[in-house]
Symmetry: C2
Subunit: 457 residues, 2 copies
């Protein structure tokens, strides 16, 4: 079969349902716990923070396929399907017998896969009659995606943007504002959480943990407002299954089945989405592809973390989840430029990893940027540093194939583009980037922040 | 017929030939003149600056279809076809009976259509055994595109980047460097032209004219090196015909034919490419679509310029071309943020405009940015300011259709994305953008710079 460089599904071929991985898992993720009572949260208990449909999706472990509402499909059709790409140029440059495919999610203005869940979350909020949302953003991909979605559905949006990013990435802020979002530097004097932190240290650069606290506080204090989050949550993995469902349908059309599936992993939204239908094959015994999560050596939650109950935020106000975590007190080295800075990992992926259904590797950032530049020069796409973790692992696998002569089929997720990450690229090109791997002592300090949860693993 | 939001041609449906508009023009553009002799240039005379195949394409007015070499097709397949998009959301927001389509060229790392010609020019240079290229870049889209192409074909590239852009857009520079280009701030002490300007004014912000002079000087002084240009030239319009050929094939598949075709016009590379096959219909009498060029009111070469022989650069070292021009001495107001700053216009488009085959309108930049923001919020794509000129005119046409009830089919070119133009967006959003329309006196100063060419119109 003549395999094209890019395969776009037609509208008719696009999936109309999301796939809920939990429905096929032999062991469910442990329940989220209320931080006050340490008892499992209820759907109704989540309504204060999440809108109702999303709270339901968060806790629904049994519905296998969820119909995608027509209004969401209509938005997906504006920027989807994303292409399934055959990396002919990369294969040639690596002189590998492997077939390398990537699912490219960067061809939209948010520059990443985040838009897939942003649209869903904004839609359900609008459907419930809410008028506004709050969220936090670090690097800004999630904030941009949500700003696009809220502009479409006519929702007001307040984004608390970590101060150091706000100052370093004025263009990201400007993109969000172009889509009508109110972008507030965090910590801000507009919330109690922000004021408390500013009183302690007026010159702080802020943190994601603080921004989450401010966003949640604002949502709780504002009528018709809810808080939304771009990764980690079960609902987000559900929405992101569109990535894998499209990829699988496209590969099926080509008569290809991946031997190896590779995704970068921060909170897990991209990896969980990409692997979803292939993991189903694995869980049901239909096939046995190798599934590899790639994380930064600077923030190695799967490869060096603990499977334990922890807070989802560093402010310790969210429910607790059992996941692979470095402890909510763990902060990656400031020298870490490659994204994927989250201390924990999606509870679904954590469970699957714990039960042996996937493996994980970590990569030092100089090797990640080396792969990013090599890939860009071959395939003409400038990858986000996050995505480049998957590129690194895919290249390593392809180079092993060159040694062994195996013509493996490799599929990896290219989650986004790196236009707003050029400071890191420049540091790499100028030889000013160092690898930052935490010592055991540094990890221990993170583990020391883990909460005690009596009677739970 | 059910018309999808995005139509991607398959690889089999992609054009394998470029279309040379000149072959069907009743009146050819006037010949380029050698600046020293004022006699028509010969193909061989261009070999010093251009590589041979490109010099041939520049002067070849008779070959109707030119085979695209397989190596170029292979590169096109990495980022093409570009989608033909039906603007359902925009139509709904404007409440118009018009059908609005746009051909979106921004889904590649250069962020614009410039890559189409960059690949062709780099390929022919490589084929001739050259080892390096030089060019200039202002905003940086062309420099980025050429850097990608040179990385692929293994050519060294030196980009002379206008100093003020170099300092304002460090990220553009970094992208080019990531693709291996040597980016030199212009004026630079590395060329005679640069040194002369620096001696006069060490603090100059540079200009495109100066950067061209430096790039040409460097090419002439370097063995195995040639100079390349991203717009205006006949060869560039030839390569860019891929845009229109794809668009027409896609619309044919949908059973649609545009009543109105709209493109922004700076040097003319996008407009010339987009309209190519439709202009052929017009020239051969097969159909009679309306074709509209949109230019900034700040730099109105078609609507307020003169059809005269002029230099292509402000340094006055290039051949002269007869075109609509404001005079190579014309400099748009520094308050002009919307791109399309070139003083002249493609000689092919100038001839067609002069002969009545297309019309032109100008747009003030605040109305252009207003359209850009409106479009972004509906269609989720953040447009380049240049592209937003076409959006403005398409929206105006669609609004007229709302008044008249006509269900016209409108096709416009969305040439690229605006990620590197956020300073201008922010100025617009904050109400700090003013319209800058040159007075008749200011235009006259530009016309005073027109060269005298005895015996020619």
């Amino acid at each position: 079969m003549n395999i094209p460089h890019r395969l776009y599904l037609t509208e008719d071929q696009m999936p109309r349902q999301w796939y809920n991985l939990r429905a096929d898992m032999p062991c469910q993720p442990d329940p989220m716990l209320d931080p006050a009572t340490l008892q499992p949260v209820t759907e109704e208990g989540l309504y204060l923070v999440f809108c109702e449909k999303l709270a339901h999706q968060e806790l629904d472990g049994s519905t296998r396929y969820v119909d995608i509402p027509e209004e969401i499909l209509e938005m997906y059709r504006i920027y989807r399907p994303s292409p399934l790409c055959r990396a002919y140029q990369l294969e040639k440059a690596l002189d590998t017998p492997a077939h390398i495919y990537y699912k490219f999610e960067g061809n939209n203005t948010s520059g990443s896969h985040k838009l897939n869940s942003a649209i869903a979350q904004a839609y359900y909020a609008k459907e419930q009659g809410l008028s506004s949302l709050t969220t936090e953003t670090g690097a800004g991909q999630w904030g941009t995606a949500l700003a696009e979605a809220c502009a479409h559905f006519g929702l007001d949006l307040t984004v608390f943007m970590v101060k150091v990013s706000y100052e370093q990435k004025p263009f990201r802020k400007a993109v969000m504002q172009t889509f009508g979002a109110d972008v507030t530097v965090s910590p801000s004097p507009t919330t109690g959480a922000g004021r408390r932190i500013l009183e302690k240290d007026p010159h702080t650069g802020g943190s994601l943990g603080c921004a989450i606290s401010e966003a949640v506080e604002r949502a709780l204090a504002t009528p018709g407002c809810r808080y939304v989050l771009g990764s980690v949550l079960n609902q987000v993995l559900l929405h992101q299954s569109i990535i894998g469902l499209e990829a699988k349908r496209a590969m099926d059309l080509l008569g290809e089945y991946p031997d190896v599936i590779i995704g970068c992993a921060g909170g897990g939204s991209n990896l969980g989405g990409l692997i979803a239908p292939y993991m189903r094959d694995k869980l049901t015994g239909a096939a046995d592809p190798q599934i590899i999560a790639v994380e930064p050596a600077s923030c190695p939650s799967l490869t060096r973390g603990r499977y334990a109950y922890d807070f989802c935020d560093t402010g310790r106000i969210t429910p607790l989840a059992r996941m692979y975590t470095l402890g909510s007190g763990f902060i990656p080295s400031p020298g870490h430029a490659g994204g994927l800075r989250y201390h924990g990992m999606s509870p679904i992926l954590s469970r699957l990893y714990h039960d042996g259904f996937m493996s994980a590797v970590s990569a030092e950032q100089t090797r990640v940027f080396e792969a990013a530049v090599f890939f860009a020069r071959q395939e003409t796409i400038l990858p986000a540093p996050e995505s480049a973790h998957a590129i690194r692992a895919a290249m390593d696998e392809a180079l092993r194939c060159r040694e062994t002569g195996e013509a493996k089929t490799i599929l990896f997720g290219l989650t986004g583009t790196g236009y707003f990450d050029m400071t890191a690229y420049t540091a790499f090109l100028e030889g000013k980037m160092a690898d930052t791997v935490p010592t055991d002592e540094e990890l221990q300090r993170g583990f020391d922040s883990l909460p005690e949860v009596p009677g739970r693993a």
